[in-house]
């Protein structure tokens, strides 16, 4: 018995099982994490049926069942309903004891109205009004509402176009002129004619602004229709159609209609701007900001890391000094990211940005241009954070290139520099990309340093747009990681925003995976071209 046990341990079998078990544990935790995110995120967009429950005390509540709770294996004890109508009932969700429900119904006429304010409204369409006067009531109201929705949506788009287009344009030009005037005044009265010309221009812009404003007022006045919704609690709520984003009747929808609704909401999520302090609508600016920040960071970190690694491995005289530098670089990867954020604020924003402002943007001071958080400073901070990864990966790649390959080039009369540039660099590119993949994954998921160096809850404009110089490196931006934190923990209505958190998390995961797949694809193409193992 004792000898057979000894033999078992000497064979190493138990340790193999231990190792396999550890891997299985790690894997299953990852799978559970991804599954939780997937289930919660993908369920968010599905149009759930609205249950109308009559309680024992006679009250009626209507809402979407979002959660059930009960004793393990036993019957459901209570359900969580999303009753919405936040402006009327002050709470989005209610818990109801299952035993208190005397009747359940799923009336097909119940509508969910998505609004620009106050979240969704659940109830029955009672009437449609034009300028306060009812035009359709009861059953006819639903058809009248559907007929008016496209026009309302068009109107909302037009209003938005005037707001951001014409008025935004005038505002920008006025700002530029004001800055120019300020500059002229500083230089003194010698430029009298210039000042007058600028003031004339400014007056003209004022006219333009007034014209745009009156057009806006005219457009807004056209949105005269409103819908009255009767809620289950017995209250009526009038909503102007200008505030209605969408209307759907989950109880009357067929499965294909639900799938279509699902798809449009997913599309809205990835392509729209956020509404209601980010808890509704889309996350497009955050996707854009994340991807762009990672790209700018890659463009900075790859050349910097490669050059540093080349110097360390190929040119620096190996010794105590280089070893110390190498250890320091490796340890840099262990510094808490918030420290990098603080450094970014102190060095990039205040020192570098402040200097740039004093030299090139003096007119707009004291309002900072580069002397405040922006996508450039955030990308630079993250580049600093991820540079050890690139250096280490590149150095390992360089160590793997055989000495004979370098000698082959030198023996042909190439200088060391030519050898480095033409033979070593192409051969080490796959390793550089490996480092870059790790760096990108790290950067895309980082939040803490970004909060200090340029991420905001809501950015008024994207860092890349149609206005010269097109790439606005000084602008603040939105980021999916920060969005998760903001929506999940800083929003006024955390419960309602929770599905949004999961959806955003899933999106961030998908983006990281996509960025990685792109880099992996690039690397495998390079590997095929520059396979380094001889024979």
């Amino acid at each position: 018995m004792k000898t057979s046990l000894r033999r078992l341990f000497r064979s190493g079998e138990p340790y193999v099982w231990l190792a396999g078990g550890a891997l299985a544990l790690a894997l299953s935790m990852v799978v559970i994490l991804v599954a939780v995110i997937l289930v919660n995120a993908l369920g968010f967009f599905w149009p759930r049926a609205v249950m109308q429950a009559t309680l024992r005390d006679g009250t009626v509540v209507a809402g979407q069942v979002v959660d059930r709770e009960g004793a393990a294996g036993g019957p459901i004890v209570r359900v969580k309903l999303k009753v919405a109508n936040r402006d009327l009932t002050s709470a989005d969700f209610v818990w109801i004891d299952d035993s208190a429900i005397t009747a359940r119904a799923y009336p097909p006429e119940i509508v969910v109205v998505e609004r620009t304010e106050w979240g969704p409204l659940i109830g029955v369409v009672k009437e449609v009004r034009e300028r306060g006067a009812p035009v359709a009531t009861g059953a006819a109201a639903a058809a009248a509402l559907d007929a008016r929705l496209p026009a309302a949506a068009r109107l909302r788009r037009d209003v938005r176009a005037v707001e951001t287009g014409a008025i935004g344009d005038v505002n920008r030009k006025q700002e530029q002129l004001r800055l120019a005037l300020k500059g002229l005044e500083k230089r003194g009265a010698s430029a009298r004619a210039d000042v007058e010309a600028a003031q004339r221009e400014l007056a003209k812009l004022d006219e333009e602004y007034k014209a745009a404003e009156s057009r806006l007022i005219e457009l807004r006045s056209r949105g005269t229709a409103a819908v009255v919704v009767a809620t289950a609690a017995g209250k009526d709520k009038e909503v102007p159609l200008a505030q209605v984003v969408g209307v759907y009747r989950p109880n009357a929808m067929s499965t294909p209609a639900k799938v279509w609704h699902y798809a449009t909401r997913v599309w809205e999520f990835v392509s729209d701007d956020p509404r209601e302090s980010n808890t509704e609508g889309g996350v497009f600016p955050a996707i854009f900001g994340t991807v762009m920040m990672v790209m700018i960071m890659s463009v900075i970190v790859a050349p910097l890391g490669v050059v540093a690694a080349f110097y360390l491995r190929e040119y620096a005289k190996q010794g105590a000094m280089v070893s110390a530098v190498r250890i320091a670089v490796n340890n840099l990867a262990g510094v808490p990211s918030i420290v990098f954020g603080v450094f970014g604020v102190g060095f990039f924003i205040y020192a570098v940005g402040g200097t740039i402002d004093r030299w090139f943007y003096a007119e707009s001071l004291p309002a900072p241009t580069f002397g405040t958080g922006g996508i450039l400073w955030a990308s630079l901070t993250l580049a600093l954070l991820t540079i050890p990864v690139v250096i280490v990966a590149t150095e390992e790649g360089l160590a793997a290139i055989p000495r004979s390959t370098r000698e082959g080039s030198l023996a042909l009369g190439a200088t060391k520099f030519e050898t480095t540039l033409r033979v070593v660099l192409p051969a080490v590119m796959p390793s550089v990309l490996t480092g870059l993949i790790l760096a990108m994954a790290r950067a895309a998921g980082e939040v803490a340093p970004l909060m200090l160096t340029g991420v905001v809850k809501l950015a008024p404009s994207l860092p890349l747009d149609g206005l010269p110089p097109f790439l606005h490196l000084e602008r603040k931006f939105m980021h999916l990681g920060f969005h998760i934190y903001d929506v999940g923990f800083q929003s006024p209505n955390v419960d309602a925003a929770r599905p949004m958190v999961f959806a955003t998390t899933l999106l961030l995961l998908v983006i990281v995976v996509l960025l990685n797949l792109f880099a992996i694809q690039l690397r495998s193409r390079l590997r095929r071209r520059y396979r380094t193992t001889a024979l």
Binding site: P402, S404, T405, E407, L410, L412, G413, R422, R529, T532
Partner: protein, 253 residues
């Protein structure tokens, strides 16, 4: 040895740090002949070869005394650019070391370094070099495939093609067949005999039969000393030194 001298070595000594690896070596290698260095492992034959294109410069702590003249020029002259020397003295290594690039790019590498830019010129050089290295027939349809997909023997011939693409005067070969099978070895040897008419070839080999088959002159090195140097036939049939005789008859080494 009536041919004009290509390489003249006078009283050459070399130290790796404190260890003396070459001991007062003097010899004259004639033009357009194949000269072989033989000897047991660690005798300094590769070191001697690597002195000829100053590859030993890359090793830390090397000290050299003596004079080497190639084509009449002192290769240690301060005014001489070492890259110029290496362009005139090509080298083929023990382990084939094609660059991780295409076959074409491997051969075109040297000419590009020399400043050849025109595609037509490069095409011509690549074809000429590959033909001279007896590789053209085998790779002409896949010039832009990676060179690392070739067999060991083909890779070594590619390295030869790469070396002769810059048209050197001297070709140094450091045990070029030690990693190859007999058929590939035979091909390389045949190639060397063909190249003899245009280049001065110096080969280091472990294989005494190879030295006997291909070389015109042979030098026998032992522990950093040049024991004997002369026509190959003489060395192998009638060695002048007891140690040479012991080595080539297989009594040691």
């Amino acid at each position: 040895m009536l041919e004009p001298a290509m390489i003249e070595i006078e009283r050459l000594s070399l130290w790796y740090a404190d260890k003396r690896a070459l001991n007062d070596i003097s010899m004259t290698i004639p033009k357009q002949r194949i000269t072989a260095f033989i000897g047991p492992s660690g005798c300094g034959k590769s070191t001697l070869l690597r002195c000829l294109n100053r590859m030993n410069d890359l090793v830390d702590g090397v000290r050299i005394e003596g004079v080497i003249r190639i084509g009449g020029t002192d290769i240690h002259d301060a005014g001489l650019d070492v890259t110029e020397l290496r362009k005139r003295v090509g080298m083929v290594f023990q382990k084939s070391n094609p660059f991780p690039k295409s076959i074409f790019e491997n051969v075109a590498y040297g000419p590009r370094i020399l400043g050849v830019r025109s595609r037509a010129d490069l095409d011509g050089i690549v074809e000429r070099s590959l033909r001279a290295a007896a590789l053209w027939e085998e790779v002409s349809d896949r010039l832009h495939d990676t060179a690392l997909g070739l067999s060991g023997g083909q890779q070594q011939r590619l390295c030869i093609a790469r070396a002769i693409a810059v048209e050197p005067d001297v070709l140094l070969m450091d045990e070029p067949c030690s990693a190859l099978d007999p058929i590939a070895t035979a091909k390389i040897e045949e190639l060397m005999l063909e190249l003899r008419s245009s280049y001065t070839i110096v080969i280091v080999t472990h294989n005494m039969q190879q030295a006997a088959r291909v070389s015109d002159d042979t030098g026998f090195l032992l522990l950093g000393d040049l024991v004997e140097f002369g026509a190959t036939r003489g060395i192998f049939t009638n060695p002048g030194d007891k140690r040479t005789e012991d080595y080539i008859t297989g009594r040691f080494g």
